[in-house]
């Protein structure tokens, strides 16, 4: 019987079994950022411990970085966090992609960009969207601050193995349907809790054909489906993406590394705890209407009404969502007015997102009264966009072109919704208050759909707003 990638990586990183029955797992790569690491550094200092494998920890700063003037947070607490990370990295000898390095960005954009993210590795970070790195065939997951402490001090942590669900999507996406729609569709189908206890293996023709950046978009939101990690088996595209990046094995070691990476892919006869099959052609542009990522509908559907709920609990949560979103059940989602349009985040703040969106945005204008912001996921992404003139396309259309950071994805920085503003957002969470205002409203969608919302001033079907040439459609 063959093994899944998950099992192979798990086995290769198992140190032993702890007295509580959990596995002590070696964490090959530890990523840290300013929000969840200072307390952990404080804990190891209190315990008189040190960072055991400093060369396996990589730091960057993202959540609190202002996107207008990056290194000048007006908020003294944010400035404290910035200083704490700088000092901790310095004291313990950890690699730090600081603002001045030109390599700073959202931790889940920086890892792959630098080639730190590699197949067959274990990657932990005090951040739930660590699943993103699974796109490379790594087992990557979010951890709590105490576990950050454990990884700093020992390069290991205690963990129980997950079950593996294979989500197989075959066929091709229709024009105007993107990786974001795929991930929102899967979450809608399996629920926000459906993945609890599972790792998701995304497989099939659709994922084989996807670019690395599209795979990252899907894996990024595994956690919104309840799965602690999601991955795609490594293939030629993975290796091609990684070749020549600063932290990947260089020439003389490259072939051996690729061989090693290949050996981690799931065997054809691997056994899964559960398999789900989806037809790519069934997926439509998807948007959320509520306050949980599984409250999604396709753009041509109407907002659910509590009377359509299957259970009483569901009816209640529908009503709670409608009340919070100030949306009437039973009416089309299309046409709902938006106040803010946000393109960015670790889900959709990569170069391909800006390229694809710019393609359609050319010649269009952001609607009157809409604030539209475009925030590259990293400084390198920003530089690349600027090289290609994409920043100008966004600016000419009426977007504000910002500097790299998490920005309005969660508003731990100055980018926040005000009052009950409704935001068409390319980020990953539509929880109450997520974007900084306790009454702010978030509608999740693909970046191209955000652009369509920006130019029409309301939630719109990008396929109707822009010219879609089926021949140029993405994977």
């Amino acid at each position: 019987m063959g093994k899944t990638l998950y099992q192979k990586v798990w086995d290769a990183h198992t140190v032993g079994t702890l007295s509580d029955g959990r596995t002590q797992l070696f964490i090959g790569t530890h990523l840290i950022h300013e929000v969840t690491s200072p307390q952990a550094f404080g804990m190891i200092r209190d315990l008189g411990l040190t960072v055991k494998y400093p060369h396996r920890t990589f730091a960057t700063i993202d959540h609190i970085v202002p996107t207008v003037n990056q290194d000048a947070p007006a908020d003294p607490l944010a400035a404290d966090m910035m200083t704490a990370l700088r000092e901790n990295a310095d004291e313990f000898g950890v690699t730090y992609f600081d603002l001045a390095s030109g390599k700073q960005g959202i931790v889940h954009v920086v890892g792959p960009e630098q080639g730190i993210t590699q197949p067959g590795s274990t990657i932990a970070c005090g951040d739930s969207h660590t699943a993103t790195h699974g796109a490379f065939g790594a087992i990557a997951f979010g951890i709590g601050t105490t576990q950050v402490r454990d990884v700093l001090a020992t390069q290991t942590m205690a963990m129980e193995p997950l079950k593996v669900r294979r989500i197989e999507v075959n066929g091709k996406l229709r024009p105007g349907v993107y990786a974001k729609d795929v991930t929102l569709h899967i979450i809608r189908l399996l629920g926000a809790k459906g993945g609890i206890g599972y790792a998701y293996e995304y497989a099939g023709e659709l994922f084989d054909n996807m670019t690395m950046e599209e795979r990252m978009t899907v894996c990024n939101m595994a956690i919104e489906g309840g799965a602690r990690c999601g991955y795609v088996n490594p293939d030629e595209k993975t290796f091609e993406f990684l070749k020549g990046r600063p932290y990947t094995p260089q020439e003389d070691k490259w072939d051996a590394a690729v061989e090693n990476w290949k050996s981690f892919a799931s065997d054809p006869d691997a056994e899964y705890d559960h398999v789900v099959k989806i037809n790519a052609a069934d997926i439509k542009p998807t948007v959320t209407w509520g306050i949980s990522p599984d409250q999604g509908i396709s753009i041509d559907e109407t907002i659910p009404d509590p009377s359509q709920a299957e259970t009483e609990v569901e009816a209640k949560s529908f009503q709670e969502a409608l009340d919070y979103m100030k949306l009437p059940g039973g009416t089309p989602i299309k046409g709902v007015r938006v106040d803010v349009a946000f393109i960015g985040s670790c889900t959709n703040g990569r170069i391909s997102d800006f390229r694809e969106t710019a393609k359609f945005l050319k010649g269009h204008q952001v609607a009157e009264g809409v604030q539209a912001i475009a925030v590259p996921g990293s400084q390198l992404t920003a530089i690349q966009c600027e090289k290609e003139g994409l920043d100008k396309v966004f600016e000419e259309a009426g977007f504000e072109w910002r500097a790299a950071g998490c920005s309005m994805c969660l508003a731990m920085n100055p980018d926040k919704l005000v009052g009950d503003q409704l935001c068409a957002s390319s980020s990953n969470r539509n929880f109450k208050g997520r974007q900084g205002s306790p009454t702010g409203r978030t509608v999740l969608m693909s970046p191209v759909m955000v652009a369509a919302a920006a130019v029409t001033g309301s939630i719109a079907d990008a396929r109707e707003v822009f010219d879609f040439d089926p021949a140029t459609a993405a994977a």
Partner: protein, 200 residues
């Protein structure tokens, strides 16, 4: 580093209504700008305890004086979903909660809570609602979470079998809920695993 054996926890309780209470609700993101966890307690459930526009206290149970000092939290399904940030269990812990009873927990939240020595046990919706009624009728009702015997009891006569994964139960009652010492002890084996990994 000797840790306490957490065999049983008792205290008065408060019920927080709603399913899928996410970590952003427990501690709104803007309060996570901190470099230590001290002081997070006062911001627990902030955005539902204070009216977002007027800043007035709402009728949230945590604002009711009769529930002051409650150390057992009663909740619904999928409690603690959302982000992996430990700020959520930390803020509840710092607020004064010593244990949480819910229909189900989000996995990361559960793990983080256990590592703080804060047992999270599950009961059925019906059992929780009985406890809620008891607590609402008399807020001085004491609830005991007996981790060792897998029982939840109340001072007004309820006895329910509760559930908690065996690994967490074992860790709590044997004072191993914080694994750091054991992880440190296996230093040599760890080095061996690291050496066998080409990328490390």
């Amino acid at each position: 580093m000797a840790l306490a054996n957490i065999t049983s926890v008792s205290g008065t309780a408060v019920h927080i209504p709603g399913a899928d209470i996410d970590t952003d609700r427990i501690i709104p993101a803007r309060f996570m700008k901190c470099v230590t966890f001290d002081g997070l307690g006062e911001f627990a459930f902030y955005d539902v305890r204070f009216d977002p526009t007027s800043g007035e206290r709402t009728d949230h149970p945590l604002n009711e004086e009769r529930f002051n000092g409650a150390s057992v939290l009663l909740a619904g399904v999928n409690f603690g979903c959302g982000s992996s940030r430990e700020h959520a269990p930390q803020s509840l812990n710092k607020y004064g909660f010593k244990s949480i009873i819910a229909e189900s927990f989000a996995e990361i939240f559960f793990g983080n809570s256990t590592t703080l020595g804060m047992p999270c046990v599950t009961l059925t919706a019906e059992q929780i609602s009985q406890l809620r009624e008891a607590v609402e009728a008399d807020p001085t009702t004491e609830i005991t979470i007996d981790v060792e015997k897998l029982e939840v009891r109340s001072s007004v006569g309820h006895t329910f079998n509760c559930a908690i994964p065996e690994s967490a139960r074992d860790a709590l009652i044997n004072g191993r809920w914080d694994p750091i010492q054991e992880l440190l002890d296996n230093e040599e084996k760890t080095a061996g695993v690291g050496e066998a990994l080409p990328y490390v």
